[in-house]
Symmetry: C2
Subunit: 241 residues, 2 copies
């Protein structure tokens, strides 16, 4: 979608699956197959009409609708989200900012006036909100989610570091910022391990030029097979000590 939008902005009229795939960094066959699930929107010998394709995909993804959302918990994170430009650009409209702190009520954040939690139900109903964003502290999250759901919200984006328990039919997506860092740290560790291994081995490996994006299981497979000793001071399968 990003690649398509870029083409659209450059007023490119049509793309072949090959060109678009290259721009998006994927395989052209995959792209064609994916598009085929939406329908036959291409023209053989020509390619896909960019504008038409943008429209079809947008609609399929629900981006042609305008989704009102509320943000509950206007601390640093809530304020950051309220100011985040990406939302309005993608069809989301921040209908209200809600905080439990009476001192926050009435304060202007991102050009809106913060409202108090007391009015949560009213706000949701009046604006027909079905998506709520929780940016409260962990302790408040579960309770907030219950009130949101009771008022009619059926999708929740949860930034609080808690697992919410919600009734069936309600979607929750949890954003855990530290998990992203953990993933980076994991790869960082592997980089260090590979360097060390390479240095120790002294270059006896075959094509050891640039093992950039290694994947986990296969790498340690054979090592794991042999080392079945047990729980005493042994070495991790995927990374040499």
């Amino acid at each position: 979608m990003r690649a398509l939008t870029a083409l659209s902005e450059r007023s490119v009229p049509t793309v072949s699956s090959e060109e678009l795939a290259a721009a998006a960094g994927v395989n052209s066959a995959k792209l064609r197959k994916d598009f085929s699930y939406l329908g036959s929107y291409g023209t053989r010998g020509v390619g896909y009409d960019v504008e038409y394709l943008v429209y079809q995909i947008s609609r399929e993804l629900g981006l042609t609708q305008d989704w009102p959302v509320v943000i509950v918990g206007i601390g640093n994170l809530g304020a950051a989200l309220a100011n985040y430009g990406g939302f309005s650009a993608r069809g989301f409209r921040v209908a209200a900012l809600i905080d439990a702190d009476p001192a926050m009520a009435g304060k202007p954040v991102a050009g809106m006036s913060v409202q108090h939690t007391d009015d949560l139900e009213k706000i949701i109903e009046e604006n027909g909100v079905s998506i709520g964003v929780i940016a409260t502290p962990a302790g408040a999250a579960q309770q907030v989610s219950e009130r949101l759901i009771a008022a009619g919200v059926t999708s929740i984006l949860n930034f609080a570091p808690t697992v919410l328990s919600v009734p069936e039919g309600v979607d929750v997506r949890k954003v855990d910022l530290s998990i992203e860092l953990q993933i980076l740290a994991f790869h960082e560790q592997r980089k260090a391990g590979e360097e060390a291994a390479a240095a120790a081995a002294g270059g006896s490996s075959v094509g050891g030029a640039a093992p950039a994006a290694a994947v986990v299981p296969p790498a340690g497979r054979s090592a794991a097979e042999t080392r079945k000793g047990g729980p005493e001071g042994d070495v991790p399968a995927v990374m040499p000590a």
Copy 2:
């Protein structure tokens, strides 16, 4: 890992793959197979020693190390990240907060003093930082990333709404907050579509009780097969108008 930590806090000594799988919401066979890649850390007839398993997985994931990180761009989002408790809890230490605005320099955020971009290289080198977090506006992100990388950073968590281009060997993870909302909106749209379809069909479907977590391609497959008409006012494959 979350499920394990919870057990550890409740001082549960051992778990079977079955119990842990239920707690984590996954299949027990998958869990055993995944663990087997790390080694044979379980005891047949008994299960896994919780503490030992926590340690092994932590080490494998690189969580036993202390990772210094810098946050560049101390606006709302940067401040929110600096205050985010989850980082220190998972072995990350915020080594410095950096902002380009001279007015920010010296200001206290999350108990630290914000430093100016001029000192970026010095800070990175002195603290041995290999992971950087970019929370600047889109326009500054690419340049910041280049300075970070030149100074020795090899992993970047990018919150700015831009695609960074970086040399090989550098990992970038992009967090796009609006994508999460888009995913919720997509499911939300499908919920609405299903309701409408159910209402229209009047209950003639077979087991139409609760099609909670539907997946995309299969659903619209047969419909897509028949509708090959072409680009005039037709209906999306996966969602009835």
